[in-house]
């Protein structure tokens, strides 16, 4: 069995994430770039930079789930809401940000484990439908238990002022990029090893993976839990950045945007998660400017929506094999280099 397992997993060990760079170096360089940027960019750009960091947490986690493990989740917007509300409730009672973020991750991980247990039993459209239902239904929970969550108005988040030497935006950017880089590092280490091989083996051929002694269900639940933790962290960061949480901040379209981001970024690569996160902040900003230039409020939000949709459809149709083939050229290129 071990021989078989080795054979299967070496074949599966596509060098997708076995990057040419050491993750630690990438993290250090990334941190230096971010710090440099926070001292050069104007405040609003710094705030956008912070938002990219927050999105990066969730797109990186989703990349692991959908790109490497082949599970489609439309419920990550709802998981972000879980993290955000947990942080808001914690901050308004105790005002200890570090513990609050940890709590947000823990609670979201627990919720993600529950969804993941169900998800591991479902495939394709059934899984998509279930997670879609989660994304649509969760905002209504805030209206049902309005004493705790204050219905559609949401909650404001109590935060201590940042250290005196920094502006609010700088502090926000440092916080969210600190979290994002730690997330990237942890995920990169996770998917390089056996866990990553198991993820890909399950994605490519469940039967072969099972024959090789991999527990398919356990791997799938683990992938969901890891990506849920990332979504919880991202949600907490969004609560900190906006200093408030409300159901309107986590609509179904957020989940669809996240999906679009990882599809465009290139499924299964953590660098793709970065591209996706940048697009998530950049495209709406561009659409906003076009809308303002045209003097049409209707255009502003909806232009970005339409554009995301068109890009998603075109990418899916243009990549000959759809989702699966988005990865193939990368794999071939790296394999060719080896020889």
């Amino acid at each position: 069995m071990t021989v078989l397992r080795d054979r299967v997993t070496t074949r599966m060990a596509a060098p997708v994430l076995r990057g040419r760079f050491d993750p630690l170096i990438v993290v250090v360089v990334g941190a230096l770039i971010v710090v440099a940027l926070t001292y050069t960019l104007p405040p609003f750009r710094t705030y956008q930079l912070a938002t990219v960091g927050a999105y990066l947490c969730v797109t990186a986690g989703l990349t692991v789930l959908t790109g490497l493990n082949g599970q489609l989740s439309l419920g990550h917007g709802a998981l972000m809401a879980t993290g955000a509300y947990t942080l808001a409730l914690w901050q308004n009672r105790f005002n200890l940000l570090a513990v609050g973020i940890l709590m947000a991750i823990l609670v979201t991980t627990a919720v993600g484990a529950v969804i993941g247990l169900a998800a591991a039993r479902l495939r394709g459209p059934y899984l998509a439908g279930l997670t879609l239902a989660v994304a649509v239904v969760v905002p209504s929970i805030a209206s049902t238990f309005d004493e705790t969550f204050n219905s559609d108005q949401g909650l404001s988040v109590v935060l201590n002022p940042p250290p005196e030497s920094m502006t609010v935006e700088q502090w926000q950017a440092w916080l969210s990029w600190g979290a994002a880089l730690v997330t990237l590092f942890v995920l990169a280490m996770l998917v390089r090893g056996r866990f990553g091989r198991d993820l890909r083996a399950v994605r490519d051929d469940e039967t072969a993976a099972r024959l090789a002694g991999i527990s398919v269900a356990r791997t799938q639940v683990a992938a969901f839990v890891v990506s849920a933790a990332c979504a919880g962290l991202a949600g907490a960061l969004f609560a900190v950045l906006a200093q408030s949480v409300s159901p309107g901040a986590f609509p179904l379209t957020l989940s669809l945007f996240l999906l679009m981001a990882i599809v465009i970024g290139g499924l299964g690569r953590l660098s793709g998660a970065l591209i996706g996160a940048v697009l998530l902040v950049g495209l709406p900003a561009v659409a906003h400017e076009i809308g303002e230039a045209a003097g049409s409020q209707r255009l502003e939000g909806n232009l970005a929506l339409t554009f995301f949709g068109v890009v998603l459809v075109v990418v899916m149709l243009a990549a000959p094999g759809g989702l699966a083939s988005v990865r193939v050229p990368v794999r071939r290129k790296t394999r060719a280099k080896k020889h």
Binding site: A118, R121, P125, A128, M260, N302, L305, L312, V313, G322
Partner: protein, 293 residues
């Protein structure tokens, strides 16, 4: 007891709409093995068409008919232009493309009509008749039952009694053999999408006046309910979809009536989870496919 009777009729009326919408999902699933996640958005788009026509001409029925025709066209167009070119090696691909369509349709509708709720008109009064002091059904409910009943009967006749229906079933069941026998498989697929989209837009036209009205995202929650209905009935079974729709409609009506309207979406989610985990192929089937589909 009066309240229970009222809620039962209300639930059946809602359920009829969910049944029609679930039927549209099942039609496409049977023909193309795709769950059309864009069905809700497509239905809203045709409802906006109806809104524009009613606004311009003042005739509900003209708007109604134009919207159904728009549904046929939209369904055929989506199949011809987009869905035909989706790679089916992974079931995720169709889902992702459909979700892309949702974003496009909602974005375009938002740009054209704006993101505020607009009232959807009804052809008949929604005031309920009272029988023996109990409010039972409105004229509009009767219209809903009639319309959905007509669709179910027509579709049954189409699929069981006409050569076209036979070709559609053959094309879905054994595409290669059908092609050898001279059936235009692609054409049947387009026809299936067109029919399903028209049925979906009928459901949209019927349900929107009873909810908050027209909005680009108005059908999201209806889609979830109808998807649940289709899963309850088993995605493969048209009869199951109709029964599932009625079950979901009754459940939602009782829950909103006794526990409050905000609990209803959670009840749908709970039902969906229970059915998917307990009987993933629906309450009316004996085989298991959800885990491999």
């Amino acid at each position: 007891m009066d309240r229970f009777v009222f809620l039962t009729f209300d639930g059946l009326s809602r359920g009829a709409v969910y049944a029609a919408f679930a039927l549209a999902l099942v039609l496409i699933w049977r023909a193309a093995r795709i769950v059309n996640f864009a069905q809700g958005a497509m239905a809203v788009a045709t409802a906006y068409v109806a809104y524009s026509v009613v606004d311009a001409t003042g005739s509900y029925w003209l708007g109604f008919i134009v919207a159904l025709l728009a549904g046929l066209l939209l369904g055929a167009g989506v199949e011809r232009v987009v869905m035909r070119f989706v790679d089916h090696s992974s079931p995720l691909n169709g889902v992702v493309v459909a979700l892309g369509l949702v974003l496009i349709i909602q974005g375009v509708l938002g740009m054209v009509y704006g993101n505020e709720f607009r009232p959807a008109s009804t052809p008949f009064s929604r005031d309920a008749f009272e029988i023996g002091g109990v409010a039972l059904l409105s004229r509009y409910d009767l219209f809903v039952f009639g319309a959905v009943g007509a669709v179910v009967v027509l579709l049954t006749l189409l699929f069981t009694r006409t050569p076209t229906g036979l070709r559609m079933r053959a094309a879905a069941f054994a595409p290669d053999v059908s092609r050898l026998l001279g059936v235009s498989v692609g054409g049947m697929l387009t026809l299936g999408w067109a029919l399903a989209a028209a049925v979906g837009s009928l459901a949209g036209l019927l349900v929107l006046p009873t909810e908050l009205g027209l909005h680009p995202t108005a059908m999201d929650i209806v889609f979830i309910s109808a998807f649940t209905a289709a899963v309850v009935g088993g995605l493969d079974s048209p009869i199951g979809a109709v029964l599932g729709g009625l079950i979901v409609g009754l459940l939602l009506s009782y829950i909103s009536g006794y526990l409050g309207a905000t609990v209803a979406p959670m009840a749908v989610l709970a039902l969906l989870v229970l059915v998917l985990l307990g009987r993933p192929d629906g309450l009316f089937s004996s085989r298991s496919k959800a885990r491999t589909a």
